[in-house]
Symmetry: C3
Subunit: 311 residues, 3 copies
Amino acid sequence: MEFQNAHILSAQQLNTEDIEKILRIAVELEPIAQKKLTSDLLRNKVLAALFYEPSTRTRLSFETAMNRLGGRVISVVGMDNSSLKKGETLSDTARVISSYADVIAMRHPDAGSLTEFSRGASVPLLNAGDGVNEHPTQALTDIFTIEKEQGRINGLTIAMVGDLKYGRTVHSLSYLLSRFSVKLIFVSPPELKMPDTVTAHLREKGVYFDETQNLEEAIRKSDVLYMTRIQKERFATEAEYRRHHGVYVLTKGLIERCNQHILILHPLPRYGEISSEIDELAGAAYFRQVENAVAVRMALLYLLLGDGDND
Amino acid sequence: MEFQNAHILSAQQLNTEDIEKILRIAVELEPIAQKKLTSDLLRNKVLAALFYEPSTRTRLSFETAMNRLGGRVISVVGMDNSSLKKGETLSDTARVISSYADVIAMRHPDAGSLTEFSRGASVPLLNAGDGVNEHPTQALTDIFTIEKEQGRINGLTIAMVGDLKYGRTVHSLSYLLSRFSVKLIFVSPPELKMPDTVTAHLREKGVYFDETQNLEEAIRKSDVLYMTRIQKERFATEAEYRRHHGVYVLTKGLIERCNQHILILHPLPRYGEISSEIDELAGAAYFRQVENAVAVRMALLYLLLGDGDND
Amino acid sequence: MEFQNAHILSAQQLNTEDIEKILRIAVELEPIAQKKLTSDLLRNKVLAALFYEPSTRTRLSFETAMNRLGGRVISVVGMDNSSLKKGETLSDTARVISSYADVIAMRHPDAGSLTEFSRGASVPLLNAGDGVNEHPTQALTDIFTIEKEQGRINGLTIAMVGDLKYGRTVHSLSYLLSRFSVKLIFVSPPELKMPDTVTAHLREKGVYFDETQNLEEAIRKSDVLYMTRIQKERFATEAEYRRHHGVYVLTKGLIERCNQHILILHPLPRYGEISSEIDELAGAAYFRQVENAVAVRMALLYLLLGDGDND
């Protein structure tokens, strides 16, 4: 795809070449994300961070990426402070924000919101999470982390564990991985299975995947274990949430018994799914993921804003 | 007036010469607002954006203006995060914020708040909306847009439509227009008529104005149609709000039938008052207004902060 | 202590030499805080301002300090926008934020929170108020103000008035003053006395202190009067709060009758404890304190981030 001025709404937009381009630039920008080098690459550019849903990490990750590239940030946090409250259409908001910013990163609790917003956006828009739908910049971070830690993506067996129904990161990650030669294992309670839209896509692309409730077996068979949080905010009732929370908990004993070399990822925040004693394992990569995320978002901001000659 | 270090609390402060000066500088700074040029004009200056009332567009507009001029921004959004909650006087808050910022843009739900705040402010203060009272920087944007679109202000007939009682933008716009040779038509339900303070001012200045409920006739007679939103938050009860919402709705048919060349403005957000099919009309200038607002606020920040030799 | 990369969690960490070093650098950076000089000392550095408790002044003070030194700021305001809501441990949050920022300033309603957070923080952490426990950067500001206004700290008699039990600033100030040769007078209702942990520390350090309910006598005996607010949010019930609010109110008459040369400090916001007629007295230094706070926080940011060769 042509990145300059494009919207990144779904991981489905990105083919292998696109993904590799993003990862290549992320590698180049990594020393800036790691605070080893400084940069003014996006000087005089303005990012609008529109977070219509509580978020700390993703918003700060984007804001950090923009600031460390020398750009500026304007932010909206929470529904209360938004014109949405006043009944404005997302398309109108998009036209307005496009007058201010050079690029927009947006999170919204409703699945279709980003698409609606994109209709009015005349500057590039990055999906930073749209309800239970997708979270493509997180999935790119996941891919980047896997490649960095394992040296490759092709040939790997990757297990995704937890709430696969409402977990938007595993949707986007599945779409991205469908571009590679991998085996997927989906571990979840039956009620929280990967949605049909995702599995249909995988079948169409000829990606092998298995669905199971057996975490232990999945750990034995996999190179990468992608844990997710059971997200309270996705359930209608407290009771429904409580029934699922705590179903899959990773302990050090379990890892050591089944597969001590497995790479463990998590989009964070974790809420008990990964025991803190696991943090010291070499394969526990979830905090390295956080740092990688800044580099990946830098790469996306840079690609969407062009190489500076659109100043 | 002498702009440097002045407070802009009301449109009434500005005479024709002042308005023209602001518009002239806004024209000069427009390429920066339009992202065509970059600037460090206000490098090392700090804007405090104090928004004690929900707002997205005005706050982001000010923050964008400051950022694109190379300055920095510190923000307070919402009552909850403020010391106001702790019972501090506005004058005390003003003295404190004056120690931090070089210039302050402030919105507050109470009409007299800005004046009270200004007593403690030792740096220039910009009224970004004080309850139902005024919104001078929006009105300057409106004037700027009219002049840009029509080539002049003098000689025009301008209709203002909707909630003229609680709509602070039309108050400030009326004050500004009283400095020019214009005819005004105020279209509203009887309960939402332009306040006496404004009409008395217009009479004193010898400005012709007409008050009517007839939108269609106003469209026929006017060069400019200034639509406003019926603002839910200004009414005591939901019922009172519902009674007025939807009284004046602009459709494409109405415009084409009555006056297809009319210039249509709206401070936004709109909430159904302007049908989206109107957006494609040449005269639909409300989204261009948004871009103009950044240039106008840049001009104000620049004027209040002086020309850089107060570094 | 070695400042570079250190956490400043408590005033107890700082010995006389440390305090003097901070004050010395604050004096050097003061012209920048006072907007007389500009700086790029912390260019390319990122401050994370994490305020899990309502705050305007301390957050904006830190953000101003960072911005005026050329650095960048990312902010979290209020519990609602935080991952804490999602049940993440403070240590996890700290590891994440450490990937983004070069330095963190944090406020939290719980006393032990900063210590817990510091376990995960790999970048320097500044305590910006942890519940009823401490507020060391405010206390450093107080010391800086006393030295600036009186020319010395040793030999002074300093009275602290109000809610000494829940008032974190007076705890930190007592710890700092225990490094100097001073006399302290604690004026409070019996239920709001200085906590035992603080008085035990003072006894151990051999600092003279007196506890009384008599404000008038304290004013007569002191060189410095440190007023505090009775903080509503620290009391379990409205009734308990109301019983204490308004116990100690400073009037101009009282000051003129008892000790017209006394230096009056207050961490602000004030809530009636100091009558506004006092503002005009030469000894009323609480608004100068606000300006001093920016310089002191600049000094801390500079010291923790090193002298630039860690770029």
